[in-house]
Amino acid sequence: MDIDSLLKCLMSPSCIMGQIINGVIIAMILFLVASGLSLILGVLGVLNFSHGSLYMIGAYVTYTVMETVGNFGVALLTAPIVVGIFGLILERLFIRRIYGYDELYQLLMTYAFILILDDVVKFIWGILDLSVPMPRTFQRPPVHIFGAIFPVYYIFIVLAAAMVAVGIWVFLSKTKLGKIINTAASDPEMLMCLGINVPLVYTLVFGLGSLLAGLGASLAAPLRSIAPGMGFAVIIESFVIVIIGGLGNIMGTFAIALLFGLLRSFGILGFPLYELSFIYILMTVVLIIRPAGLFGRLRS
């Protein structure tokens, strides 16, 4: 344990600010991925273990676009769309067949795609770690806030993720399609009686969830190395956040992602030995006390 360095950090505003920003960056990227997972779990009731692999594909597509076109803006648009379309196809051909079956079938089907996609990625991009350079627009002198120094790109990530969070929230609660999606989660039969093509809604939701995974991956690409198998850690962290936040609850997901990021960045200072288990202990406690998650309702 290293309480001293945590206390020392808490004494200086610049260190606090630096850790907060680091935590928020982790949180924002995880939020994007987890919100897609949460949407799919909440509306379709599918445990999509392959969500981490969709994230991985997003990262690789970002890499390829950066290599060929060299423009990060293009990559940021292309990668989510490619992953989204891939998600549409995946749902239409395979995932659709396991709705309403045991969680075991869902685990089996989506896990199979983890294995397949990991190998496909190895074929196309090789097994070595790849990295995406910092986009030229953001190659500027770092910013100082409260004495903490960080790259301009960090601010961009925070802004982009916050916009997406608000965007999803407005989309789900204010627009007609959003309301249809909400109803598809709670009463698909009534929706069908109203003449709405529920299977199509499901496909769209899966596509949207995949798109969010792609967006998260694309934003994270300049910060993290890209390798086959990178989806395994992402999926488990996203699941933790979705479960603690409450299945299908986007705002809950956002709050817990923030908590996760801050626990990480401050925990690693004060309790480097226990930091990894903090979030799982939290998940355990939440599941024992409030199985539906901190902000969720129990799913029957």
């Binding site: 969680e103 479960i243 599941l287």
Partner: protein, 331 residues
């Protein structure tokens, strides 16, 4: 007489055990005993999980917890105290089982308070805590490297009898004996009144509580039993690999026995064993001939789910029952 009856009703089982012992004696091949050891260990792991999934209807996503506890217990005991004990290997395996059972008790207590998907998530959370502990407790577990440097295998001394365990064949026979005895014990448990209560709980736990049966107590009991045998399989795996690794606790390790159960069939005792055979064989041959294990095995799983969807032995039993009823109908 009772013994003879036990032999007759499990004749398939004893014939297979006989083959497993005689074949390596006649044709000693390291490759063969390696793959059979792995199949047997994974079969025990899958059968122990099927006590929860198939018999009791509790879907656990965190069974790797107990596999890892068993594996690390055996590894740590043998690496630190192996020279001072005459029965180091059996004792370490026993400790692996005891510790897995002790850890399974509180985990089972909390998990069985939840149902369906929340049960699965809570088992997953506990297994990730154990994974985190293994990664971070470097002095004891070697961190993300695992217990490297090999696990010593001191001879087993029984009175005047000394068995040299450093030979791979001796280890193979130990694995055969340990797995087969465990399978017999688990079979006996599933055939006991306790085993039938578990099946009844799976079908309708409310009705069982009307009959005055404490559902939760039985679920915790089977959770602990299942954890004990998973711990033994983990301990055997540590001996087989001569090392314990953090991925023994990772969530992917919990997924492996689920594949085996789903492929082999979860309504029969032998289903998970068949599943372990198929999955292990498939991965060995796909690695050997194609080098694209993930793509091949993944596509196989997807096709299987679309076309057959049920475990092989489940399909077989349904087919046999239909045929029987058709025949009796004709008469």
């Amino acid at each position: 007489m009772k013994l003879m009856g036990a032999f007759r009703s499990n004749s398939w089982f004893f014939a297979s055990v006989g083959c497993l012992i005689i074949i390596p004696l006649l044709f000693p091949s390291l490759a063969f005993i390696n793959i059979i050891s792995e199949i047997l260990i994974m079969a025990l792991f899958a059968v122990s999980l099927n006590l929860l999934i198939g018999y009791t209807g509790l879907i656990s996503f965190g069974h790797a917890s107990f596999f890892a506890v068993g594996s690390y217990t055996v590894g740590i005991i043998l690496q630190n105290f192996s020279s001072s004990l005459p029965l180091a290997i059996p004792l370490s395996l026993l400790w692996g089982m005891v510790l897995s059972g002790i850890i399974a008790l509180p985990i089972g207590y909390f998990c069985t308070r939840l149902s369906s998907i929340y049960f699965a998530f809570l088992t997953l959370a506990f297994s990730q805590i154990i994974y985190a502990v293994i990664i971070k407790w470097q002095n004891l577990t070697g961190g993300d490297q695992g217990l490297v440097g090999g696990i010593p295998k001191p001879p087993i001394v029984l009175g005047g009898l000394v068995i040299d365990m450093s030979s791979p064949f001796a280890l193979y026979f130990l694995i055969v004996v340990a797995v087969c005895i465990s399978l017999l014990v688990i079979k006996r448990i599933t055939d006991s009144p306790f085993g039938w209560i578990l099946r009844a709980l799976r079908e309708n736990s409310a009705r069982m509580s009307f009959l005055g049966i404490d559902a939760k107590k039985h679920q915790i009991a089977v959770f602990v039993i299942s954890g004990i045998f998973a711990g033994l399989s983990g301990g055997l795996m540590a001996l087989h690999l001569s090392g314990s690794y953090p991925d023994h606790a990772y969530w992917t390790k919990s997924a492996e026995p689920i594949f085996m159960i789903m492929l082999g069939g979860l309504r029969t005792f032998a289903g998970p064993i068949l599943g372990a055979l198929i999955v292990t064989e498939l991965s060995v041959y796909m690695c050997k001939y194609t080098g694209i294990w993930g793509l091949g095995f993944g596509s196989f799983l997807v096709l299987y789910l679309i076309v057959i969807r049920e475990g092989i032995l489940d399909v077989f039993i349904k087919w046999r029952e239909r045929r029987r009823s058709a025949i009796s109908h004709k008469k």
